[in-house]
Symmetry: C2
Subunit: 309 residues, 2 copies
C-alpha cells in the first residue's frame, strides 16, 4: 500500500465511541410525535445494543420543538442508566431543567454562524457565548459532564462557507470557558473530507483530536467519507442516528445524520471496535421506523455482509 496511507491506517484509532442521537436529533424533524415513554424505551433498546452513549432528550421549548416535549419524563424513565445519557440544553433555563431532572451529561449548543444562531437559539452567537459563560459555574457546581456542540462548523445553508477563523475562534472561546469536549457539527451536511481534515488539524492548538467529536449530516452523501477522515486523524467520538433519521428544523434543507448502523459497520470494517452489535442495532432501527410509520425499512438491508473486509 501507498506508504503514507499504510502509515495512516496503522496509526488509526482501534476504538471509537458512537453516540446515538436518534431519540433527539433523529426525532426532532419527524412529523410523528412519540410519547416520552416510547422515546425512553427506544433509548433503552439502543443502549442494549451496546451503544455506549445516547443523546436522549432536549430541554427546548415544547412549543418550538413538540417532538421533544417531556424531556424530564424521558430521563425519569431512564434514571438507572443516567450516566450513559446526554441531553441537549439550548440555554440556562434548559440547563436548570435538565439538572433538576437528574441529567448527568449536558450538551450545550452554539452556532458558528449568526443566521443559524438566531434561527436555532433565538439570539446572537455573542449572546449565546455570554450565557454559556454564566452556565459553566452552574455545571461545575452540579458536577456534571458537559460538551459544547458547534453547529454549522463548515457550511451554512444561508451564509455559505463558514470562515475557518470564525470556527477556530469560537472553539478557543469554548475551551477557555472550560469545555473540555467539543463536537463539530456539519449541521447542513455540506462539509467535505478535506474541510473536515483541515479543521481538525488547525484545531490541534485549541483542542486535540481526542477532545473532539463529529456530528455529521448526510444530506449530500459525504458523511461516511467525512467520518473516515476524522477517524484517520484521531477523532474517535462520532454522533449518528438510526436509519439516518434527523435534520435540524432550523437549518433549511438539512437531511438526516449519518446512519448509526452504517457508521458502526464502517468502523467495524476498519477494525475499529465499538462494542455494538450490528444485528441488534438493525432490529432497534426497524422497530423505530415502524413506530414512526416510516416505510424506509423495506429498502434497508436485513443483515450485514457475510464477513468484514
Amino acid at each position: 500500500m501507498n506508504r503514507s496511507l499504510r502509515k495512516i491506517f496503522e496509526e488509526a484509532p482501534r476504538r471509537a465511541t458512537v453516540v446515538d442521537v436518534s431519540a433527539r436529533d433523529g426525532l426532532q424533524a419527524e412529523p410523528v410525535v412519540l410519547t416520552p415513554e416510547r422515546r425512553a424505551a427506544w433509548v433503552r433498546a439502543v443502549l442494549s445494543a451496546g451503544v455506549p452513549e445516547v443523546e436522549a432528550a432536549s430541554f427546548v421549548s415544547p412549543s418550538r420543538v413538540p417532538q421533544m416535549a417531556g424531556a424530564a419524563r424521558v430521563l425519569a424513565e431512564l434514571a438507572d442508566v443516567a450516566d450513559r445519557l446526554w441531553v441537549l440544553v439550548p440555554n440556562r433555563t434548559g440547563a436548570e431543567q435538565a439538572l433538576e431532572a437528574g441529567a448527568r451529561n449536558l450538551v450545550c449548543v452554539v452556532s458558528a454562524t449568526e443566521t443559524h444562531s438566531e434561527e436555532n437559539l433565538g439570539r446572537s452567537t455573542a449572546q449565546v457565548l455570554s450565557d454559556l459563560e454564566k452556565m459553566v459555574p452552574l455545571l461545575r457546581e452540579a458536577r456534571v459532564r458537559s460538551r459544547a456542540a458547534v453547529s454549522m462548523a463548515w457550511v451554512d445553508p444561508v451564509e455559505g462557507i463558514v470562515p475557518r477563523r470564525q470556527v477556530l475562534d469560537l472553539c478557543s472561546r469554548l475551551t477557555a470557558m472550560g469545555f473540555e469536549e467539543l463536537t463539530l457539527c456539519d449541521t447542513h451536511g455540506g462539509a467535505s473530507p478535506r474541510g473536515v481534515s483541515e479543521l481538525i488539524e488547525e484545531l490541534k492548538a485549541v483542542a486535540p483530536p481526542e477532545a473532539l467529536g463529529l456530528h455529521l449530516h448526510d444530506t449530500f452523501g459525504a458523511a461516511g467519507a467525512n467520518a473516515l477522515m476524522g477517524l484517520l486523524l484521531g477523532v474517535t467520538r462520532l454522533d449518528a442516528s438510526l436509519a439516518g433519521l434527523g435534520g435540524c428544523p432550523f437549518a433549511p434543507g438539512a437531511r438526516g445524520n449519518i446512519a448509526t448502523e452504517q457508521l458502526v459497520h464502517l468502523l467495524h470494517s476498519l477494525s475499529v471496535g465499538t462494542g455494538i452489535s450490528e444485528e441488534a442495532l438493525r432490529e432497534v432501527r426497524d422497530e423505530c421506523l415502524r413506530q414512526l410509520g416510516d416505510d424506509r425499512a423495506r429498502r434497508l438491508p436485513r443483515r450485514g455482509p457475510p464477513g468484514l473486509l
Copy 2:
C-alpha cells in the same frame, strides 16, 4: 494537517471520470420496465448534464432481465453519441449483438466467485474466462474499446470474504488476455476502505491505478468512503447511478450503487473536476424517479450546499 494526509491530498488526482450506470445497473433491479426509447432519452439527458460516459444497455437475455430488453433499440436511438456509451455483454452472443447494434465500447463481465458466476452468468469462472479469451480477437477485429468488470471483488454474499489471491489471479488473467481496463466491482457492497486500498495497492504489479475503475454498491453505507480511498490512491474512474438506483438481481441483498449526484458532489468538494453540472444531474435524477414511480425524490435535497468546502 497530518503530513502524510496532506501529502495524499496534494497528490490526489485533479480530475475523475464518472460513468453513470443508471440506465443499466440502475434499472435492472427496478420493478418498472421502461421502453428502450425512454431509456435512450434518459441516457441522453445524463450525457447532457456533462457525464462523460454512460453505461447505456446490457445485451443479456430479455427473459432473464426484462428491464434490459431492446438494447439494440437503445443504441440505435443514440447512434450520434455512440462513442460515449458503454454496453454490458455477458457472453459471445451478447458481444456479437452489441457489435451488430453499433456498440463502440464493451464491458465484459467475470465474477471473482463461483457462486456469483453461476448465478449471474450461468457458468463457472473458468468457462467465462475461456469464452472471454475467444472474444478478445473479435473485439480487436471490430476495433472497439473494452473493459473487464470483475464482480464480487471483495465480499460475496454467499461465499463471504473473497480471497485476495483469487481476485489478483483473475485480474492477471484478464490483463494477459489484453484487457487494458479493469473495473473492480463491490457488487454486494461489503467492501471497506481498507479492503479497497489494499486491493488497489496489490494490483499495481498487474494494472496501475490509472487502468482501474471502481463500481461500488452502497448497501452498507461505505461506498463514499470507499470511493474516497480509491481516488486518493489514483483511481479516477468511478461508476455511479442516479439516486443510488440499482442492485444485481443475482446478488441476494445487494442494494443500489453509489448515487451519481452524491459522488459528483464528493469529487467536487475535493476539488476534483468532473465536467458535470450537479444541478442538471439532480433534474435528470428527479425525472428518472418520476418515471419509475419512485417516491424517493421527496427525501432528496433539491439543491446542493451553498458553497464547496
